[in-house]
Symmetry: C2
Amino acid sequence: MSVRADLNISLDGYASGVDPTPENPMGADWDRLVAAYAATRTFRERVLGERSGEGTTGVDDAYAHDYFEGIGAEIMGAGMFGFHTYPDDPDWHGWWGDDPPFHYPVFVLTHTPRPTLEMAGGTSFHFLDASPRDALARAQDAAGGKDVRVGGGVRTVRAFLAEGLIDHLHVAVAPIIIGGGVSLWSELRGLESGCTVSSEVAESGTIHVTFRRD
Amino acid sequence: MSVRADLNISLDGYASGVDPTPENPMGADWDRLVAAYAATRTFRERVLGERSGEGTTGVDDAYAHDYFEGIGAEIMGAGMFGFHTYPDDPDWHGWWGDDPPFHYPVFVLTHTPRPTLEMAGGTSFHFLDASPRDALARAQDAAGGKDVRVGGGVRTVRAFLAEGLIDHLHVAVAPIIIGGGVSLWSELRGLESGCTVSSEVAESGTIHVTFRRD
């Protein structure tokens, strides 16, 4: 029952999904940051709902497959859910349509909680004004003995990392230099202490780095 | 006759050799940044002058070996030579003793040039107050048809990268988070454009990333 996080970042440490705008909700560099992930068979089947059997099946796909395995609940920040982009829409229910790809309870951290949203396919969105530690306790209660994912965005993941709450951090590093945004790594000096760090290069050129707490 | 640079950086992009002090001339994190390189057989033989035959012989050593191959001249910043640490010592002749491991002409960029130093083993130190482009022309003239290395520090390498003067950049990324210093990557958005980027993980966990101009 570990706590996991997965992020796509650039070689200079900037994460996807920052500073979304209505026109470009995941930020200007999103497409390049997640290109290798979006090309996997797992992403195309699990997120896009394709039945084509197409998509890459190498190292990137193995990580994409692991991404969805064994998760019982998720925590995300208000920005990842879309509240910073659509703060005044009382009917906003996330970026993912009526059948989101989670299929488990999702806890959204926000200073302005709303009633729980029950979606299709077993996904529910719960809105919490809580500290990382308290939110994690709630999510672990809901996870039914499975793992909890801290989904994003980067500021949310960093807050959980800074408190030592993440057992398993996987970053997919795209070999590109973005030059700006929100860095995953800032204020995390010594993150590797007490962890085993392993790395693997995918066929796409993506560098997968994993920090596992010993 | 290409222009090359090699740096050791942390996963969060900070380079070795910044902010040296007399007590710790290569900075507080130097040992951890270069541990894998310093453990190679090539480093121990070529830089330390050992004859023991000890040291690692895997992926890190292959890069260490390449580091010394085919270079005919080198450019470095005043800080890497030691002028920021020992600005008032007229007899300062670098960190490397009387027989430096270069064995070719080295051009040191400084606003206060001194007479050329002829060292043992074919190394000479030439002091230039010149732009990156002009310094490179001087070094290429001196390189006898071989490659030129831009040796460091990180600000010097970045200045050459920003002007598009580096054909082959190799960074050895230690899987540690330093959290501060001088970032190699800042102001280099799009560095990968027109390059082929390849990566390889060494037995030590070091991630070797290479940008080669197409």
